[in-house]
């Protein structure tokens, strides 16, 4: 009996805006001029935040920080497609997406300065705090999607992850669950090419990360992650399908981590400056700027205003954050359980010396 092909697959690549800012108007998502400007402004703000966070860390005013430099389009474009009722599960490199979702800048600074209160996401914003163990947010996001479906809520969930996470067991388990139960969740993978020092070629032999979705029975799409129109379009469509019960999607945004892994890393040890330079030339903000220039949505005066306002917002957030009194040491205990057990009460009392002041 001859062998026969019983199934074939394909993986789509989406680019709307090329590196020179040329746009395929047929593919362009229906965004108003104002919305396009808003995308640009969010990206500029995200970058201003990122630059400031890096500087503050170097000055000893912030703890270890994971830069988003170069990934602004992937983060802003995807988060912009979310609706307020949607849920979002970030990894630890999601400052841009979190800001678009409405997390106050001062809270992002507060978290990275080592204060858990920065993770108390404001009521009404359905985002989880950042997740550090790689990929472990994926099954949790899948569970939130299950609950939404069970309750009949017409919302979608977005889980952010990176290329390294696709090697984790939780990636497999979370996507598999989402496929089996056809859950309203979008897995937004930013393939930024590096998991600290390990290139994506050491994560997988597969040519794309998007194709991994096929094994779970749903669509995967690869998009130019530095093209904010492509990211927005893919996310917007996937979220829309999720909200109407058409199940999950994996979106691979091909982008690049321009900065070090974190402020504690030195990427010159494992990659070439030439590679970084090549990706700098694909800068997501410059690309949108070129397009907007052609469309009359951008000029020097506008750019100057956006840059200035972003810097002012960031500076104001730093000042606000640095004025926040330190947390109460009792908070170490207070959130362990809904009610403090006797033993923990006793341990909490040990914090305080005979003078009634907490011992450092």
């Amino acid at each position: 009996m001859p062998k026969k092909t019983i199934k074939t697959f394909h993986v789509e690549w989406l680019q709307v805006l090329d590196e020179r800012g040329n746009c395929d108007e047929e593919l362009r998502p229906p965004l108003s001029d104002k919305e396009i400007q808003k995308l640009y402004e969010w990206m500029v703000l995200a970058r201003a935040f990122d630059e400031k966070a890096f500087k503050l860390q170097r000055e000893g005013r912030l703890g270890t920080y994971a830069s988003i430099l170069g990934q602004e389009a992937a983060q802003v474009g995807s988060a912009f497609a979310l609706q307020p009722g949607d849920w979002m599960f970030p990894s630890y490199r999601e400052a841009g997406a979190s800001i678009v979702r409405g997390l106050p800048l001062k809270m992002v600074f507060q978290y990275w300065s080592g204060d858990e209160r920065g993770s108390r996401i404001p009521q009404g914003q359905n985002d989880f705090p950042i997740t550090i163990p790689v990929g472990t947010q994926i099954p949790i996001a899948t569970g939130a999607a299950w609950a939404a479906k069970a309750k009949g809520d017409k919302i979608a969930v977005m889980a952010y992850l990176g290329d390294g996470a696709t090697s984790k067991g939780d990636f497999h388990e979370g996507l598999n669950f989402a496929g089996v139960f056809s859950l309203p969740v979008v897995f937004l993978c930013q393939n930024n090419h590096w998991a600290i020092s390990v290139p994506v070629s050491r994560q997988t032999r597969a040519e794309t990360l998007a194709q991994k979705a096929i094994a779970y029975g749903f669509d995967g799409i690869q998009v130019d992650g530095n093209d904010i129109f492509a990211v927005y379009k893919a996310a917007h469509e996937a979220l829309g399908r999720a909200r109407v019960g058409q199940g999950p999607t994996l979106i691979e945004c091909v982008t690049y981590r321009i900065g070090d892994h974190t402020t504690a890393d030195d990427a010159t040890r494992y990659r070439t400056e030439e590679e970084v330079r090549e990706w700098r030339e694909k800068d997501p903000i410059d690309r949108l700027k070129r397009y907007m220039g052609k469309k009359g949505l951008w000029d020097e005066a506008y750019d100057h205003k956006v840059a200035l306002e972003s810097r002012e917002q960031v500076e104001a957030a730093v000042a606000e954050e640095e004025a926040i009194p330190p947390p109460d040491p009792r908070d170490i205990f207070h959130y362990t359980f809904a009610e403090l057990p006797e033993d923990l009460k006793e341990q909490m009392e040990h914090l305080f010396g005979s003078d009634g002041r907490p011992n450092p």
Partner: protein
């Protein structure tokens, strides 16, 4: 009042809580049509349907991870991990997320989740089906650990666990599942978490046990009782948070203590109990506290498990030692 096994009592608790609260959902491997490999969830699928009693993929980390997301969203998931030896794949979700989402988010999110897990030896099961790993969970801040010892206890404790706003590891002694029946009220009742109970009062020594070890401990107490030595038996019920007060009050009264657990000795919960007794009742003690435990070895397969598991003889010997000291 009906005489029920622990399996039936847990089943009744699940059915009643699902009836009472539409947010309660059951998920795990084989919990649906099959009713669970121990039949603990039998009949729930038929009664509540696929939407609330879900057979999941064979995927322990996601069973717990997904449950965390469900809990954060507002459901009350009761997840089953089929055997304690398979829960290790889910430890990252338990330790890194379930136990600390309340802390990490400073109270914005919490995780009202129950993970039911049959544990312990004595049923002639294969490797990874007979372990007693409660100390791993008790060592994790933010998790509650509950181990019922009888059918009545199981129902009341499970209801409390399901209603608790924090994650609870509910460890079911599979050796007790069908080994004994007792009267279990159909009516609703709860047993508060964090409170031990005095199973038998006594004045000469304190025996502390939980789960499957309660029966051999009670047997040892009865044997010694015939010889005029009266043990007070504490059924710990909740291993985290610990009811230190009940233990200390008893030890202050009896001045001698024996702790019985089937888990390995080193860093077992017994070590913590000895430390607490030393911290709060050292000068009351007439003898060093004894531990009767499993060994610091891999749990053996069925042909050798009777040598590993503590039994009434080993407990009576330990009682003899603390009395003679």
């Amino acid at each position: 009042m009906a005489q029920l096994t622990m399996v039936q009592a847990i089943n009744l608790a699940l059915a009643q809580e699902m009836e009472r609260d539409p947010r309660v959902v059951v998920l795990g491997e084989d919990v649906g049509k099959n009713g669970g490999v121990f039949r603990v969830t039998q009949g729930l699928y038929e009664k509540f349907g696929d939407g609330r009693v879900a057979d999941t993929p064979l995927s322990e980390s996601a069973i717990v991870g997904v449950s965390i997301g469900m809990a954060a969203y507002g459901l009350r998931p009761v997840a089953e991990i089929q055997f304690e030896g398979f829960i290790y794949a889910a430890m990252e979700q338990l330790i890194s997320h379930a136990s600390r989402i309340r802390t990490r988010s400073r109270g914005r999110y919490h995780c009202p989740l129950v993970v039911r897990v049959p544990y312990g030896g004595g049923i002639r099961a294969p490797e990874h089906h007979s372990e007693s790993n409660e100390a791993l969970f008790a060592h994790t801040p933010g998790l509650k650990v509950v181990v019922p010892s009888t059918p009545y206890e199981a129902k009341g404790l499970l209801v409390s666990a399901i209603r608790d706003p924090d994650p609870v590891i509910f460890m079911e002694p599979k050796r007790v599942y069908r080994a004994l029946k007792e009267e279990v009220p159909e009516e609703e009742y709860t047993i508060p978490l964090g409170q031990a109970r005095i199973a038998t009062e006594g004045k000469d020594n304190t025996l502390i046990a939980w789960g499957a070890m309660l029966q051999p401990t009670l047997k040892a107490a009865a044997l010694m009782g015939e010889r005029g030595i009266h043990s007070e038996v504490i059924d710990l019920r909740t291993l985290s948070p610990l009811d230190t007060r009940t233990i200390i009050e008893s030890v202050k009264k009896t001045k001698r203590a024996v702790i019985v657990h089937e888990a390995p000795r080193t860093c077992g919960l017994g070590a913590e109990l000895v430390a607490r007794i030393n911290e709060s009742a050292l000068l009351y003690l007439e003898a060093p506290v004894e531990r009767v435990t499993g060994y610091d070895t891999v749990m053996p397969l069925p042909k050798l498990e009777q040598y590993y598991l503590p039994n009434a003889e080993r407990v009576t010997e330990a009682i003899g030692r603390v009395m003679r000291f």
